[in-house]
């Protein structure tokens, strides 16, 4: 069909009879232009309407309870409401600070996306580049799990994680143990490097990072007071929620990364094989560097879903100090919420802006990946 079409075009006297000033397509008349502009404008207004509404309410000041007239442009511009949210995000009875909520959401989102990409990429590599027994069925099983909403395994995860409880002393010991190993290990490396006089900027900063993390962990261990806290329960901690969230994020990471890896041309790897590289060398030296944008996009998508995750956190967490931004937003919404709507709007904006800005910057890569890795497999 395509061939005949191009043939006809090339034989048709286009330049003479059908020339319309352009090489292709129909030229639209002013009347059509007007109609189409009206259509596009209506669509644009419908898209912008809720966004403008929420932006203008968030700029109204801290005590703007509820609007009585429609207002899509702010009557004044003040960041009072944002300040009010930072001072006291939820009701006065809840002692959690905004930064605590934001940090909890950040820890969850960053931890889950980092971990799922870290272990997902090697599985994606195997699915993308190896032929092996059971490949199809293993990949289909991942696809099937991907179809399931995270709520489909909520009950068993809740029951399982609730069973894991320990005294906070053990928790404290784990902090001391990991922190100590990190501190001593980095110190040994540092001493070794110093003796050989091989400290570069890179190794120096890595050593500093190791020391800092080790010291932080030790400090964390010291600050835990086992008597004040009762039992440590994995389910109510951020770790428990993180585990449950990884159960959804990991299949997504594998599926998405496999789609990206499939698009990386294989010529480089073939050349490396001829040069005698092993699969491991190919993975670490060629595939991983080429896949960096894909890793970043997949990690970001994981981060975005973790940053606003609600269902699991709301079910698992009952300790106020572990509450997340999404849970706080929930208390500000709905019929019986007493929070001023300017504060609700400011909170929505503060949750959206960080992820939305990054999304817009990565948009080109994300859209390509969603349609390609997400569906075609």
């Amino acid at each position: 069909m395509l061939d005949t079409a191009t043939n006809e075009v090339s034989t048709a006297p286009r330049k003479g009879l059908f020339a319309r000033g352009r090489g292709s397509g129909r030229q639209i008349s002013p009347w059509q232009q007007l109609m189409l502009q009206a259509f596009c404008l209506i669509v644009a207004i419908s898209v912008l309407f809720p966004i403008m509404w929420i932006v203008s309410m968030s700029l109204e000041g801290r005590d703007y309870q509820r609007p009585s007239t429609l207002q899509v442009l702010p009557s004044k511009i003040t960041f009072d409401a944002y300040q009010a949210v930072i001072e006291q995000p939820t009701s006065a009875s809840s002692p959690v600070s905004f930064w605590r909520l934001a940090l909890n959401s950040f820890y969850l989102a960053a931890g889950v996306s980092f971990f799922s990409v870290l272990i997902g990429v090697s599985a994606a590599y195997a699915f993308s580049r190896f032929e092996f027994t059971g490949r199809k069925w293993l990949f289909l099983s991942i696809g099937f799990i991907l179809l399931m909403p995270s709520i489909a395994t909520l009950a068993p995860l809740f029951a399982m994680l609730s069973r894991i409880q320990a005294s906070w002393t053990i928790y404290k010991l784990i902090y001391f143990g990991v922190g100590g190993v990190m501190l001593i290990g980095t110190l040994l490396i540092a001493v070794n490097r110093l003796r050989e006089g091989e400290i570069t900027l890179r190794s120096g900063s890595l050593i500093a990072l190791g020391l800092a993390v080790g010291a932080l962990l030790i400090y964390g261990g010291i600050s835990v007071d086992p008597d004040a806290k009762g039992q440590f329960n994995l389910r109510t901690s951020l770790y428990g929620v993180g585990f449950a969230m990884i159960s959804g994020a990991l299949p997504f990471a594998i599926w998405n990364l496999k789609g990206y890896l499939d698009t990386i041309p294989k010529e480089l790897e073939e050349a490396a094989i001829i040069d005698g590289a092993s699969p491991n060398q190919i993975f670490f030296r060629i595939v991983l560097p080429l896949a960096t944008p894909a890793l970043a996009v997949t990690a970001f998508l994981g981060f975005m879903s973790g940053w606003t995750e609600f269902a699991l956190s709301f079910q698992f967490i009952n300790v106020p100090e572990n509450y997340t931004l999404a849970m706080a937003l929930r208390t500000m919404t709905g019929q019986y919420a007493t929070v001023p709507w300017s504060k609700f709007s400011a909170m929505s904006m503060m949750i959206s802006i960080p992820v939305s800005v990054v999304y817009l910057m990565l948009q080109k890569y994300i859209v390509g990946g969603l349609t390609l890795g997400g569906v075609k497999g």
Binding site: L2, T6, A12, G23, S24, R26, Q27, I28, L36, Q37, C40, V43, A44, V47, I51, W53, I54, R66, S68, T69, L70, S122, A123, S128, R129, F130, E131, F132, L138, P149, A152, T153, A155, P156, F158, A159, M160, A244, I246, S247, K266, E269, E270, P279, T308, A311, Q315, R330, T333, G334, W341, F344, S348, I351, S352, L360, Q363, T371, V375, K376
Partner: protein, 350 residues
């Protein structure tokens, strides 16, 4: 990667003539090595819970069975397939006053209709707007494209909570906007206190759908069409312009060109996107949970939100597990059907 496999086989054969089993499976072993971390983690937090879920669904696992270290602990008791039959017969209504509107078949039916009606709008609007944006000579294309992506960019949680407040009967932007328009026509502004999310009477006589369904349909159309537009735009830009030129030489009108050229060539891209849309809309938790909360009278409940309420609100872990097992079966059936449809569509293309 077939060629690489072959080259490795070749180098192996050159090295040692007859290959032992150990040598032949070298690549499979390397592949498994790469799979081990992910499948180890998934075994613990995905596959084992699925099995555990099945066991839970055969017990009367309740709130007191959660904490085995508590004094009030009650071990879950085996009840066979009781939970499953209770769900199908809607007997769990009697357990809790919260659940007195529970009706499994109504939830399933509404869920299917919800998915179908939404995806139709998403795909239809998505294609129309993509085609309009693709018209040559249209002004401000770039501005429109930049605006139209916004619903995709915002977190769904925020979109859902914002639309919940938009549909508020007293101060929501929808009612206030209608009142503002009504004022132009001298209508009484007090007549625009539409209780979008709470009204029990059906807005259209004869169609058993509550007003909150239409409210959420509006919100979800707003949320869903940009993805379809983006997919369709990508496909439109790969259609060679010569096709349209040839068609107009042959005397085809714009509408004929749309049906005979544009739509058939969009299909390979739109079919997988539609399947993705069906699955995500079927499981769309945030919109329903935050906007209508399943109301009024549980009539806009879908499977995910009902499962969440059984577990989160009512602590019925055993019944919730059985409900989730039903969800697995239903979603498996839907994905099998959609896979079949997409395969039929593919063979039609070829």
């Amino acid at each position: 990667m077939a060629s690489v496999d072959r080259s490795i086989e070749r180098s192996n054969q050159e090295g040692g003539g007859e290959l032992s089993f150990w040598q032949r499976t070298k690549r499979t072993r390397t592949a498994y090595l790469y799979l081990v971390p992910a499948f180890f983690v998934m075994a613990i937090i995905t596959f084992y819970p699925i099995g555990y879920q099945f066991w839970m669904s055969l017990t009367d696992f309740g709130a007191r069975s959660v904490n085995p270290y508590a004094k009030t602990y009650v071990a879950p008791k085996y009840v066979g397939f009781d939970n499953y039959t209770k769900i199908l017969n809607n007997d769990i209504k009697k357990i809790d006053a919260d659940l007195n509107t529970f009706n499994f078949w109504r939830i399933l039916g509404f869920n299917l209709w919800w998915t179908f009606s939404n995806v139709i709008f998403h795909v239809g609007l998505g294609i129309i707007i993509a085609v309009v944006l693709n018209i040559e000579g249209l002004w401000f294309k770039r501005i429109y494209r930049a605006i139209y992506i916004l619903p995709m960019v915002l977190p769904q949680l925020v979109i859902a909570t914002v639309w919940r407040n938009m549909f508020d009967a007293q101060s929501g932007a929808v009612n206030l906007g209608l009142a503002a328009v009504g004022r132009l026509f001298n209508a009484n502004p007090d007549s625009f206190h539409i209780r979008w999310l709470q009204q029990i009477e059906d807005p259209i006589p004869g169609i058993p759908l509550p007003l909150s369904y239409f409210a959420m349909l509006i919100a979800n159309i707003w949320l869903g069409w940009p993805f379809m537009t983006i997919v369709a735009t990508g496909a439109l830009q790969s259609i060679p312009k010569e096709l349209y030129e040839a068609a107009s030489i042959d005397g085809a009108t714009g509408i004929q060109q749309f049906w005979k050229i544009t739509l058939p060539l969009l299909r390979p891209a739109m079919v997988p996107a539609t399947i993705l849309g069906i699955i995500t809309t079927f499981n769309l938790f945030y919109i329903i949970y935050f906007i209508s909360e399943g109301g009024p009278l549980g009539r806009t409940e879908i499977l995910v939100t009902q499962a969440y309420k059984l577990i989160q609100g009512n602590s019925l872990y055993g019944i919730g597990a059985a409900f989730s097992v039903y969800m697995f079966v239903i979603l498996g059936a839907i994905s099998a059907i959609t896979a079949k449809i997409s395969r039929v569509a593919e063979s039609y293309d070829a």
